[in-house]
Amino acid sequence: MSVGFLLVAWELYANHSGIKPTILPAPSRVFEQAVLNREALIDNAIPTIRATLIGFACSLGAAFVLSMLVDFFQPLRRALFPVFIVSQTLPLVAIAPLVVLWFGFGLTPKIMLVALVTFFPMLVALVQGYEATEAEIGQMLRVMGAGRWRVFMLARLPSALPYFFAGLRISITYAVVGAIFAEYAGAAKGLGIYMLNAKNNFRPDLVLAAVGVSAGLTLVLFGLTVLLQRLAMPWERDAGRQIAGKGPRR
C-alpha cells in the first residue's frame, strides 16, 4: 500500500517537475528499462545470488560450530566475543576494497564479506537462544540422567530455534547488502558492479532497476526464511489452533 502510494507520487513528480530523466527517472521508465535490459540484469544477479548464498552458508556453519563451543566452554566466550564485536565495527566501505585487493575479483572476497557481516548476528542469536532454555527443563533432564550433550540436543538446541530464525531474518538482508558492497569494490560481474557501471554511464534508471532486482532478491530470501521457520517449528503454528479449552498458561 504505502509502497504503491510512494511510487505514484514519484511518478507524478518525475513527469511534471521538469527534472531530467538522467537525474530522476520515473518508475515507469525504470521498469521499462529493467524489462529491456533483463538479460544483463539476470546475468549480473546470478553471481550476486551465488555469493550471498555461499557466503551465508559458510557463516551459518561457522556460527553454529562456534556457538556450540562457546556454550560448552564458557571462558571461550569472554575470550572471543570482543574480537567478534570489533569485527562488527569495521566499516564495510573501507574493508571491501581491501579484501578485494587481497583476494582478487573472484568469488572468494564476496563470500568473505558476506560471512563477515552475517556471522556475528547469527552467533549472538544462537548463544542467546541456548541461554533462553528454561532452567527447570535442564535440571529435570539432569535428574533423568542426561549428560551435557543430551541436555544440549534435547533442550538447548530446540530452545534456540526462535532466536535462530529471528537472527536469520535479519542476517539474510545483511548478506545481500554485503555481497553487493563487495562487488561494488571490484568484480567481473554482479549487481554491485552493474550499478557502478550504470552510474558511471549516467544511467540512474539502470541503477534503480538493479536496486529493484536486489530488493526483490532480499524479499524472496526473507520469505524463504519465514517459510522455513513455519516448517521447522510446527508447534508455533498449531498453538493458535487449540482444541482443549486452554487455561491460564503458567
Binding site: V143, M144, W235, A239, I243
Partner: protein, 255 residues
Amino acid sequence: MTRLELRHVRKAFGGLDVLADISLSVGAGEFVSILGPSGAGKSTLFQLVTGAERGQGGMFFDGAPLDDYGRHFAFMPQRDALMPWRRILDNATLGLEVQGLGRKAARMRVAPLFAEFGLAGFERHFPAQLSGGMRQRAALLRTVVQERDMLLLDEPFGALDALTRAVMQRWLEQMWRHHRWTALLITHDVREAVFLSDRIYVLSARPARVVREFSVALPRPRDSTGVAGRRAGTLEAEILDVLLNLQPSKGHDHD
C-alpha cells in the same frame, strides 16, 4: 523402611542463608509433604537432593549417602517444564528416552497410561494446546513413567486456579492409593498438604528449618466432608496457626 533421609542439611548461596537446618525422612510407600512460605528454600532443598546444588549435612537413600544426580528420583519441577516443541506423547516418553529406551518401546510403555491421566486423545497435541490442568497431568505422567524409587513434586498445582487445583488434588490422591508411590511433595497450600499426605513437615521462612512435624492420621480415601472432613479442618487450622506464628514478621519475599 526409611528411603530418603536428610540430617541437618544446610545451604547458603554466597552470603544468603537459605536452608538453616533440615532433617526429615520419607518411608517406603509414604506420601510426605514439605509445607512452607514461598521463598523459604523449598525448591532449593530439591536442588540439593537431586544433586543440582551442593550443600552441607547428610543425605541418604536406603541408608547410603546420595551421590550427584543419583538414579533414585523422578523429579517434577515447579513449572510443568513441558517442552513446547514436543507433542504430549513425546514429552511423556522423555525420561524413558533419556534412560536409553527406544522411541517405539517408550511410546508403548506410556500409551496405556493416557486414559488414566485423562489425556486420551491428546497424544498428538502440543503442550500449548492444552489447559493448565491437562499440562500438569502430562507433566506428572512424564514423571511417574520413569518408575524411579521416589517422586519429587515441586508445587505441582501451584499455578492452577482453585477449582482445577481441588480437582487435581482429588485425582492425585486417588492415583496415589492405586500406585503407592513413595513421594515427597512441596507445597505452600495447607489444605493440599493435609488432603494428600501421611506426614507433613512445616518449614520456617528463610533461612528454613523444620519447625513442626505433623502426622495426618485420616482415613483414605480422603474426604473433605463429614467427620473426617471436620478432623481435617481442625488439623489445617492447627498447621496454619504454626505457620502464622512463625515469623518475627521481618517481611517475607515471594519467588
